[in-house]
Amino acid sequence: MKDIKRYSPVEFKVTPLKIENRDHWDVVLEYHKEGDGPWLVDLCHRPRLDLQTGHLDTKKPFGITIPATPGQSVLEKGFLINRMNRIQSSIYHLGGDAIEIPQETEYTDVTEATVFLAIIGAPVFAICEKLSSLDFGDNTRKTPFLLQGPFSHVPCQIVTLSREGEKSGVVLTCSRGYAKDMVDAIVHAGEEFGLKPAGEKRFTDWIDSL
């Protein structure tokens, strides 16, 4: 059978060093000259699910309890589960092997609906501050936590996973169509901090360190 490829909406203008084919995606594990951080990582190939039901409290996706309060998130077993509102949670699969999408109708695979990026490194909040008035470094909130609002003028979900120095980082999703302009905006904002594209390995190492 002819090799069928899936394409990420994100294209960095740097040369990949290591690539792995996974479920028809060419996943870049490492780029040339990634530098010492901060980093921007394309995670569009990582599965994302929308879970909606009027009975959200009865659901335990992948055996994980959904946070009770909108804006709270939980990172367990490689899954990041974000409580969006009374009836809705977003689920990001950040690490580990391929997953089986639950067959219950309340789940919708929205992997393709959004662009999915991680910004990692000490200056992450200084970079984000140039693009959004939301406070991703809010030290009154326990990490991980979810903010929903404009980032570079586009409605986004942004989860702060850590605000501890070099380990600081956020993951961000917005409508897939904005991928090019969103990446351009982040790269531009991060230029003065030395932000560089990085492969998935950098992200995986970071998640494992949290």
């Binding site: 059978m1 002819k2 069928i4 490829k5 899936r6 394409y7 990420s8 909406p9 028809h24 995606w25 569009c44 190939h45 929308d50 909606q52 039901t53 009027g54 009836i87 809705q88 109708t105 309340e106 919708t108 929205v110 992997t111 393709e112 609906a113 959004t114 140039k130 693009l131 008035s133 570079s152 003028h153 586009v154 409508s175 897939r176 169509g177 904005y178 991928a179 090019k180 302009d181 969103m182 351009d184 905006a185 531009h188 904002a189």
Partner: protein, 656 residues
Amino acid sequence: MFSIGHDLGLEAAVALHDLGMTIPMIADIRQDGQDPALAKAVADRKIPLQRGWVAIEAHGKKQVQKVTLKSVDGTVGKTVDCDVLVASAGFTPLTGPLVVNQAKQKYDPHTNFFLPTDLPGKMHAAGRLLGLENSGAIEASGHLAGLQAAYDCERCSIADLGEARKAMESLPGPARGTKLVMAPVKGRKAFICFDEDTSIKNIKQSIDKGFDVPELIKRFSGAGLGPGQAGIPGHNLPLFTARYQAQPDIKIRPTTVRPPLVPTLIATYAGTNHTMLKQTPIDEMQRKDGGIFRNIGVWQRARYFTNDFTSKKEIENVRNNVGMLDGSTLGKFRIHGPDALNALQRVYVSDLSKIKQGRVKYTAMCNDDGCVIDDGVVIKLGENDYYFSTSTGRAGQTIEWIRYHTRYDNWDFCLVNLTDAMGVINLSGPNARKVLEKVVDIDVSNEGFGFSEYKEFLVADTIPVKAMRLGFVGELSYELHVSASYMKALWLMLWEAGKEFKIQNFGVEAQNVLRMEKCHVILGQESEQRTNLLDIGLGFLWARKKTGYKTVGVAALAQAKQDNTRLKLVGFKMENNGRAPRDGALIVDDRIRGHVCTARNSFALNEAVGMALVEGDMSQVGTRLAFYEDECNGELIYGTVVETPFYDPSGQRMKM
């Protein structure tokens, strides 16, 4: 370096000094009125505080290197090396919400602010609405306002009110502000309105021309008419106008405040501003194929594929052969849950309980006035599970629209926006089937995959596709919805399969002409805000026997169906094989009687045709229409109302 006009500026300077920042000077535009404690804190840290001074110029290119300061009267100045300039003119009271609710404003010479006076009955304000900035006073004012509201509802005693008032009296009133924030910048522009780029010079010019009161000046100069809703000029314009004309304080009157009361973000002035537009999954390929792009709403779309903006080749290729259009911008949604059907029945005019699995139902949504706001198709995926499309322009509002119109029903349903998740390929033309059958394993004959049918299948055992037989352009057409990441792969497979037929791209303009020849409407083009479902000939979608769902707009439609005075959508052809009038051209007799929605020279019909909204009495076939275009110098062109559709009236080509 600090250039400030408010105690918070002093507070920030002290805080940043204590965090290690070296502050060479604070220029405070106020001559006096600083909080004594803060002034002492500044002095204790040996930070020079220049009262009545202001920064007039920052030097440096990528970063500030030095700042020039001057006294407000412009007589003394100095330049100081620094790498950060912190500038703040201070606050003005947030009186907007009160004023738009009929409160009055009056200039207070003590505080230098416009403060609310004469609040309407049962309106009570607190905090910064009144210009208060002391936290204790803000809290006490909130307590008092709450008690006043309770008193209005007979739930509070006079004595309690008296106590709360007394507590307020012992606390600081409105803070004192800067009378007029204006730097002494001789020979350079000093802006009074950043939204409209209105400078002090423009205000002087307005006054010199006789527009001598703020209400007239703002209309003449544009000051305060931008999105900031006079956030800055609302304070400065009346003060400057009074000063320039040497008027006493009593003459200073504010300009009228109108909604929206949205503050201007500092990022609007100072931050980067990236243009954020959406691209479809095959944007890059379409550009390489010669696509000429236009911004359409939030999307970038290929409108043409040659410099011939009539799109003749693209149109003829679809009519006679086969073409592909990137239709990914269509809104796409999943709705599921026990009340999914109820929600659809509420917003769509058709009876969707009758949809059969494997069929496509074309339908429309109206607003409460019966005016048509959206159209698209609905597909039943399973029990309580539907997939539906919307027009490109409505996709962003669809979830809110459905939630809003079901907000009191406590229905259990879930909505997922899949607009960006799915790419859409329109494969259209008499050879479309021959191309598709080379790529898929299912029976795509007319018997196997008929008009208005829906199928799900895998291409090459890998790519999941939702496919519909539709006919928007009036030819045999397949609309293939495919996961966005697979869109490029499927497009290339179809392109490869179509090579033997010389398959070509077609763009949005070609699609526009093709569907216009079939008189298929595009909402927003063949409709405007007042156009209802019946006006544009979509009344057949309205299931009049559907009851019990309180469908949005049907009550208004029921009233409108007997109304013959409404505008009606008609098709027309031009007289004497004349050219098509421009879109938007007026239809006139001794007055305006309608307007052209879309009109083009049709290559399939070899004559100019179009659609127009005209008054009811002009909608009969045979009526002569006179078109008035911009700059026509009174030379009208003429056409005649004809039967529609213009092309393939029996619809055989799209059902072949």
